[in-house]
């Protein structure tokens, strides 16, 4: 089924992990996808190539979402490529997990500027480009907004801000036909989580034991939720947080 036929979608932070999986998954459903990245051009190009190789449409646009000039350019270029905008997926995010006492002012700014300010900037810009009949925003958060995992205070609170903002904007923008929802993934095996050592073997064992479906999440696992929320099938859903965790919370 082509749920997103010809829809124009921007996926931020789409060079790897969730973002790459979402970009590819939406392209499979017929969307024209902007693969946004901030630094890893090589991997982002791979995502675009892989979408085009299977007959999909994708364009590459570099932009650091925490910089307004970059964001303005991201949306202007999107219109140049595809002529319109239907869906914004705010996936770009940064994290570092450390005990609360170690949190610094600099780290606060780094995390919040991408995870919160970045989403404010992209959502504001998206509103200028959505059609008169509406648009669709999907923000990616984390299961930790309800789980409260230790040593994730900055990251989780930034996602909590995003959840709260999404609920406000669903009500504020609903009359314009703009839906705003959140997908909250559980612990997921990505290059990032493996490389940073967040998912040690002991942690994985614990997570799997606490997951009713009995395994660790993969980036692919949240694609179905994002595609659904972006589609007309979810036309009556807005202001919601859809946990995609295999049942772990």
């Amino acid at each position: 089924m082509s749920n997103l036929d010809k829809k124009v979608v921007i996926v931020t932070g789409a060079s790897k992990g969730f973002g790459a999986a979402i970009a590819k998954g939406m392209a499979r459903e017929g969307a024209k996808v902007v693969v946004n990245y901030a630094s890893d051009q090589e991997r982002a190009e791979e995502v675009v190539r892989s979408i085009r190789a299977t007959g999909g449409e994708a364009e590459l646009i570099r932009a650091d979402v925490s910089r307004q000039a970059d964001v303005i350019s991201l949306f202007a270029q999107t219109r140049d490529f595809f002529g319109s905008l239907d869906v914004l997926v705010n996936n770009a995010g940064v994290y570092r997990f450390e005990p609360f006492e170690c949190v610094t002012e600099a780290e606060f700014h780094r995390i919040y500027e991408t995870n919160v300010l970045g989403c404010i900037l992209t959502m504001q810009e998206a509103l200028k480009y959505f059609s008169a009949t509406g648009g669709n925003i999907i923000n990616i958060a984390t299961v930790d907004v309800s789980a409260g995992t230790p040593s994730t205070s900055l990251y989780t609170s930034s996602k909590g801000a995003l959840v709260a903002m999404s609920k406000v904007l669903a009500k504020e923008l609903g009359p314009r036909g703009v839906r705003v929802n959140v997908v909250a993934p559980g612990a997921t095996e990505t290059e990032g989580t493996r490389a940073t050592g967040v998912l040690s073997n002991a942690t994985v064992e614990k997570i799997v034991a606490g997951t009713p479906l009995g395994r660790l999440g993969q980036a692919e696992d949240i694609v179905g939720a994002v595609v659904f929320l972006a589609s007309e099938e979810a036309r009556w859903i807005t202001g919601q947080v859809l946990f995609s965790t295999g049942g772990a919370s």
Partner: protein, 245 residues
């Protein structure tokens, strides 16, 4: 043909949201058991509509509040279609009454149909669903809105949400997911009954999307939860209400 076909039981599907779900799942390729408690005529109409579109369905009468009756309806589903993959516990009643005016009879009836009915459907599903199956329960966005006169109804729906989280953990090892859909106001006979146009317009205004829901708005969410794209969504409550809460 029915050998590979997945099979769904939809309780309370002779009318309203249930009928829309039955028809949607049939068009998704499910063989559908249209469960009803009293409205044989409308249930048969739903079956006929599904068959007219090339789908497979049968109507089975069962009062969801009676466990023996529910068990027999599962027998019927298996005999007709070979097994059961998805159970949608949609049957429910909603009769509004402030607590001081709520009779023993209304309280017991609300519990029997909404809560015991869902318990019976879930227990039977837990015993008989094929691996990889789906249980989809129904709550309501009144859990969250908490308007006066909804106490009995909301109590049953809250309990269903709690059971959803727990049963998801019990059945995960068989790749069975358990989720709940919580609609807001939907323009069914049940909802529109004895409401003036003005009342309905005021309720529509509560929603950021500026209308009341339609049965198909809810059926498409059930379709997602019954389908392959939701396989990692488990133990969740999805509110489908146009953003009202």
């Amino acid at each position: 043909m029915t050998g590979n076909r997945r099979v769904a039981i939809v309780t309370g599907s002779s009318k309203g949201i249930g009928a829309a779900i039955a028809m949607r799942l049939a068009s998704d390729g499910f063989a559908v058991v249209v469960n009803y408690s009293s409205s044989a005529g409308p249930a048969n109409d739903v079956v006929a509509a599904i068959e007219a579109h090339g789908g497979a369905a049968i109507a089975i009468r069962a009062n969801v509040s009676e466990s023996a009756s529910v068990s027999l309806s599962f027998d019927g589903a298996r005999e007709a279609f070979g097994g059961i993959d998805t159970v949608v516990n949609n049957a429910g009643i909603m009769q509004l009454s402030r607590i001081a005016d709520t009779s023993d009879e209304l309280w017991q009836k609300t519990l029997a149909i909404n809560l015991t009915g869902t318990f019976n459907g879930m227990r039977e599903a837990a015993r008989r669903l094929r691996d990889g199956g789906r249980i989809i329960n129904f709550s309501s966005s009144v859990v969250g809105l908490y308007q006066p006169s909804y106490a009995a109804y909301a109590a049953t729906k809250s309990a269903i949400e709690a059971m959803t989280h727990i049963v998801a953990k019990e059945l995960g090892s068989r790749e069975i997911t358990v989720n709940t859909v919580a609609p807001g106001p939907v323009g069914t006979d049940l909802f529109l009954y004895e409401k003036s146009d003005e009342q309905v317009a005021n309720i529509a205004k509560m929603s950021p999307l500026g209308r009341i829901g339609e049965p198909n708005d809810i059926a498409s969410v059930v379709s997602f939860l019954a389908g392959p794209d939701s396989s990692w969504i488990n133990g969740q409550v999805i509110r489908a209400n146009g953003g009202v809460v």
